[in-house]
Structures are given as C-alpha cells and as structure tokens.
Amino acid sequence: MHFKDKTKMALTGYGFILPTFVFLIWFMYYPVYQALSGAFTDWDGFNAPHFIGLDNFTRMMTDEVLGQSTINALIWVAFSIVLAVLPPFVVSELIFNVKKARLQYVYRTLFVIPIVIPGIVTILLWRFLYQGDGAINQLLGMVGLDSWQQLWLGNPHIALYSIMLMGFPWVSAFNMLIFYSGLQGIPKEVIEAAKLDGATGWKRVLRLDIPLSLPQFRLIVILTLVGSLQNIIPPLVMTNGGPGYSTYVPILHMYNVSTVNGEFGYGMSIALIMFVVILAFTILNMRLVKSDT
C-alpha cells in the first residue's frame, strides 16, 4: 500500500474518532482543567475569578467543618467497604454452592431484581423507616424493645451510622454478580484437586475462593472507596449533613460551599484535594493487593 493510501486510510479512521475526541476534551477534560485552575481563585460562579494563590488550601487547614467531614468520610468508607464486600461475597458463595444450576439462576435473579428500584426511592423509604414513629421504632415497640427506640436521624451520635447502615441486608446485586462470576472463573480442576486435598467448606472458601477472588475484591474495594467518597445523595436527602455536622462529608461540604454559599473557588479546591486523595488510595490499594497476589 502506498503512503498516500495509508495516509488516506488513517485520516478516514481518525476522522471518525475526531468528533468523539472533541467531545471528550470538551466535556471531560476541559471541566477538569477549569476545576484545577479554579481551585486557586475566588470564583463566585458568576463574576470573573481572581487568582488568590493557595488561600483556599490554607483555609482548608483551619476549616473545622471539613475536618469533621473528613473523619465522617473515613468512618463511612470503612463501613462501606465492609458492607460492600462481606454480604455480597457470602451470598455469592451460597448461591455458587447450590447444587442445581436452575436454582442458582432463581436465587441470582431474586437478588438482582431490587436493582430496578431507583436509589432515591430507597433513600426516601429509609427516611420514613427511620422516623420517630417509623416502622423500625414500631417494630422495636412490638417486640418489647422500647428502650432501643431512637431518633435514628435526629440523634447526632447515631445518625451517621443510620445512614451508612440503611439498605439492609446490604447485598449489592452488582457486587454479588462480580463475586459470583469470579467464583465461576475458578477452574473445576482446581476445585476438584482442593477437594481431594481435604479443602472443603470454610477451608475451601478461605484457602481457595478468597485468594482466587482477589481481583474481584480489589475491584470492589476500589469502586466502593471512590463511590463512598463521592456519594452525596444519602446525606443530602436524608439529613443535609445534620444534626449539627454529624453526617457531613467532604463531598457535601464541597456542594454546599459551591452552590449554596457561592464559593465555587473553595469548592473546587476541596474537589481537587478529594481527587488527589482518591487517586492515592486507589494506587495504594492496587499496589497492596497486587503484591499480595
């Protein structure tokens, strides 16, 4: 093929991807650039921004609300990772060990069906369940546990945990399917060989399934880490960060300082730090799990 033809062919190919590339830069990279540069300004969302150097970052050091938000976020991340990993893995193991393939399919379907319910509906439902006269307190009253009744979202000491623990029994269909497909990927020969060596039941789970599912664990841990740090909807809808700042998290702080207070420059600086933190956690996690495997 001549150079001219090759060039023509390459140009045609690049011509096809050019529009995507333009939109990618326009809608993905340009906003990121704006956020990065905006973090060093006092932009109010309307008037021309002024460069203020590191003032926003200095302010972050003394921002008590951000401090408490960060502690809340760390608690949230830790709980989220446990809840995102343990229940789905246990359920996937149970389903994987069901003998009949058809029954496996039925159970899988049963756990996946709730995925069609929009997240916001679940959150609003749990807001009602958590009310003072909601179903949880009523249930506790019915079984004689009146002293356990709480203002689940009104008590600053438990509100954060109430939000984190909503969604019982915490079996994320997505995570469960990832674990299940991981288990399916274990070669039958390996399972048979393990059986012959006496690795059955819990022994098999601990010594075979978990080590061979580490890529799935890694993926879910990373996704949960990123997702929980970015998850603004539950605290925003359920408590708007209250009581006090007990359910405030950095992403909610970023949202409020930007859109409510009009301090977009400061909001962008919080976003920038969050980006760096998430990136660092992700790299660390990938390295740790990789070295384990």
Binding site: F3, K6, T7, A10, L11, Y14, L18, F21, V22, I25, W26, Y30, D44, G45, F46, N47, E64, Q131, G132, D133, L151, L153, G154, N155, P156, H157, V237, M238, T239, N240, G241, G242, P243, G244, Y245, N256, V257, T259, V260, N261, G262, E263
Partner: protein
C-alpha cells in the same frame, strides 16, 4: 522513516486540531451573543417602529420577555402549591402584548427544587430569565453581585403607567423601599407583597385538650402546649427555623438599639454591613446577654414538641412537618400566610385558627422591651419580588432596546392596581403598596404589615451563617448540646462570618 513519522504525527496533529476546535467552541460559547432566552431579532428590533405602549416613548425592541413569577405564575401546571385557576398575570400580559405589538410575555412554568442554585447556574451561563423572582436579602447578599439590574434610577423617574405619581417610588411602600436597599443604596427588585407568619392551630385538637381560646401571651402558649401534651396530643412538631424565631425575640430584645445598628451604613434598615459591624462591635454577639438570652426561653416551648424534627434542616423536613399538621397529627404549626390555602388544597376537615407570636413582657423575661414583634418574621419577603437580569446574567439582554422593554413591562406590572389584583388573586400574601387592600381572609394577618418594619436578626452577612446557627440551634434544643457549648459554637460562627464579610467586601470595621 518518513512514513513512520507521518503515522506518529497524524494522531498528534488531529489531537491538536481537536483541542483547538474545543477551545474555539468554548470561546464561541463564551462570546456568543445569541439570545438563548428571548427570541428577539436585533436587526428587526432596530427597524421596529415605536408601538405606543405606556405614556412615554415606547420600547423599540420586539421579541419575547421571559418571566419567572414564582407563586404568581399564571396557569401553572408544573409548580406545586400554586392554584391552577390563577390567571391575573397572564391577563395583564395579554393586555400589555395588545398594546405592544411584537412583544410577547412568556411565563416560566417550572419547579425549581433549589432556586438559589438555579439562579446561580443560569446566570453563570448567561441564560437567566429576563424578569425573575428574587428576594431583596438574596439580591443584596447571597446572589453574586451583578446578576440584577440596579433599578434605583427607574424608581426615581415617573412610571408611565402611574400618571398621578411623580416617581415610581412614590407608588411603592416607602418603608419597604428604604429598608430593603442594598448597602450602597441600590434597589434590585420591586417589592409588592408581604408575607405574614403566625401560629396556626387545629381547633378540634385544642377543644380535645380543653383549651377554649387561642394563646395570647407567652405563658399561655407554654400552658396550652403543656395541656396538649398532657392530653396525649402532639403540641408542635417542626424544625425550629432559627432565621424566623430569632427575629421575633431579637427584634424585641434589641428594639432600643435598632437605630444604632441600622445607622452603621448611614442608610435606613439593617443591611448586611450593619449586621457585620454589629457583630464586630459585640452588639450582635454572644458577648451581649440578649443574643443568646432567648434560647433557654424558646427551649421551654420546644420541650413540649415532638423531638423528630428538632435537629432537622427546615428545608429538608419542612414539607413532612407541614403534612403532619394538615393530617391532624399535630395541634400547632408555625408557618406563613400561605398555610390556609395549603390546607384548602389538602381538603382538611378540621377548622384552622391562627394567632400571632405573643408580645413578650418583663414577666416573661427581663430582656424584653415589650414591643410587638409579631410581624418581624414575615415582612417584604413574599413572592411579588421581581428583578431584571443584567446582560451578563442574561445574554439576550444585550439586544438593543431589550432592557428598556423589560423595564417597561415591569413598570406595567408594578402599579398599585396590578399589584393588588395579582396578590389578592393568589391569596397567600398581603399587598403592601399604598392604596392597595388585602383580601378579607388576610385582614387579621395584614395587621402585621402595617407595623413599622424594624426586624433584627443575623444571617445575611455571610451565606453560611444562618445555616451554621441553625445546626447549633437544633442540637441545643434537642438536648444534644448545652448552652455553654452552643454559645461557643455561635460565637465561632459569628467570627467566621465577620471575617468572611470583611474579606469579600474589603471592610475595615474600625471605621464604624
């Protein structure tokens, strides 16, 4: 070699083109002058003949004026809480369009969950509505500077639709105009209605608890709440709105210092500058016993409330709390004058009465000056509050003649006759302009509007201050924080707000 270079260079070249194209697109979008809101045609506009509206030179521009009229939106289908048979502004618009061929008035019928954010975003994109609902405190403080036209010049000129007044301002409520001015004396909106607030109560539940009459004093209010509680009835259940209740108490406690605080900026009314200076001088601060003095007193009342919403954000739990009252689950609900209409919409079966916030006495608290502060919460914060977008906030306003046309429409809407018609048709508010009369159903609450507007409170000097104080307030009232800790938190929030105000407005407090 050449070929290899070409194959490597091509993607780079195309990427560069894409980046340049992106940049160009971005610039084009920034610099573009196309009207995304209005649909006026500049060349057409220039050629358009004067079309005889009003009594002065008519606007030469033709096109569509977009208006977001909030509670006054006519024929609203998408905005909850608005009567569907509300047509007055549409009728006025039809009349205006008839007199001004080529100009169309379009009302925005959309629900905005977070209106402040909507305004910010639309203004940043240059797509704000030509005329939009905005309250004076937001225009003077919360919203970014430069999103609303300064109407002061027009206030000082005749309004062609009010021939018997020398200036437009003469037709308006003088107190409201003075007290809602920005720190620099600017007026960014026309302000035609007044919202009253009161305690609304369920008469049936009061009877069940053996309460014959609505409370008139603070002691009677506490007593009635305790009686309801003893009868197994939830007295009240709502998020205690700090911004509202502080104004009742502080307007009373600080009434003798009102003139001092209002005079810091040498303009009438308490502006955000007055507030900031008052804080810096320790007057509006925890150093003054009056500032926190009402918290324990108010807690006496909230101790009789159901605890569910005490720590809640009024914006988050407000609708639930209102629904509890309308469902007959709670006996008393403190709300705005729109509540009777909400109740009618909800077809409530029980009879609703109302009583004003009581006048406090020295017997209730030695901090009281005994003034009637029942009207301190509502005031000129209703919905007939309209601003005009600047050309920066609304690109279509760059069209020659459009600004004048939009102001002309605002002048047409802003006459005492039209204010009264629109406000009374809506039924939730009280018209405030001289010569206007409220609906019969609003007469009791309208008495608040006739009182001198001397409301004192904090929360306007920094966007976050009110929200910060609300959080501490909720924790204190719910028993999760003692008064000392709450006082320390409040002072910290006030100091932060003051620092924020000084930084943003380049203010030197020592000058005052």
């Amino acid at each position: 070699m050449k070929h290899r270079f070409a194959s490597k260079a091509l993607p780079i070249l195309l990427a560069a083109i894409a980046i340049v194209a992106t940049g160009c697109g971005s610039n084009a979008s920034n610099n573009g002058n196309s009207a995304s809101n209005g649909s006026g045609n500049a060349s057409e506009n220039n050629a358009a003949a004067a079309n005889g509206g009003g009594n002065t030179a008519a606007p030469a521009w033709t096109g569509t004026i977009n208006m977001y009229a909030q509670a006054y939106t006519p024929d609203a289908k998408n905005i909850t809480g608005i009567k569907t048979d509300q047509h007055k502004l549409r009728e006025l618009a039809d009349e205006y369009e008839k007199a001004h061929p080529g100009i169309k008035i379009k009302f925005v019928d959309e629900e905005f969950k977070d209106y402040t954010q909507t305004v910010r975003v639309k203004a940043a994109a240059g797509e704000l509505f030509d005329v939009y609902w905005a309250q004076w405190a937001e225009l003077n403080g919360t919203f970014p500077k430069g999103i609303a036209e300064d109407l002061t010049e027009y206030f000082g000129k005749p309004n062609p639709y009010i021939p018997d007044k020398a200036t437009w301002q003469e037709a308006m409520n003088g107190t409201v105009v003075n007290e809602t001015a920005a720190p620099g004396g600017q007026h960014y909106n026309i302000n035609g209605d007044y919202v009253a607030t009161a305690f609304f109560y369920n008469k049936e539940l009061f009877q069940q608890a053996g309460i014959a009459e609505a409370p008139k004093t603070w002691a009677e209010l506490i007593d009635a709440s305790k009686k309801l509680q003893a009868a197994g009835i939830v007295a009240m259940s709502q998020a205690p709105d700090f911004g509202w209740f502080q104004r009742h108490f502080m307007s009373d406690f600080y009434s003798k210092d009102f003139d001092t605080i209002a005079a810091f900026d040498k303009a009438p009314g308490i502006s955000s500058l007055d507030e900031a200076v008052g804080i810096s001088k320790g007057l509006l601060s925890t150093k003054d016993e009056r500032f926190m003095g009402w918290w324990p007193m108010f807690k006496q009342l909230t101790d009789t409330w159901k605890k569910d919403y005490l720590t809640g954000d009024p914006g988050v739990v407000g609708a639930n709390a209102r629904n509890d009252f309308l469902a007959g689950k709670t006996a008393i609900f403190y709300d705005g004058s729109w509540l009777p209409n909400n109740a009618a919409d909800a077809a409530v079966k029980f009879e609703i009465g109302s009583f004003n916030f009581p006048v406090l006495t020295a017997g209730d608290t030695p901090l009281s000056t005994g003034i009637d502060a029942s009207g301190a919460v509502g005031g000129p914060n209703g919905a007939f509050q309209f601003a005009v977008a600047t050309k920066e906030a609304d690109k279509s306003m760059k069209e020659p003649g459009k600004k004048e046309a939009v102001i002309d429409w605002l002048q047409f809407v802003g006459t005492p006759e039209h204010v009264e018609q629109a406000v009374n048709e809506n039924g939730n508010f009280v018209p405030t302009w001289p010569g206007t009369k409220p609906n019969d159903s609003m007469k009791e609450l309208a008495s608040q509007a006739s009182k001198e507007l001397k409301a004192i409170g904090v929360g306007n000097s920094s966007a976050n201050l009110g929200k910060d104080l609300q959080r501490t307030f909720g924790l204190y009232l719910s028993g999760n924080m003692d008064l000392d800790k709450a006082t320390a938190n409040v002072q910290k929030a006030l100091d932060a707000a003051n620092k924020d105000y000084a930084t943003k407005n380049d203010t030197d407090y020592s000058k005052y």
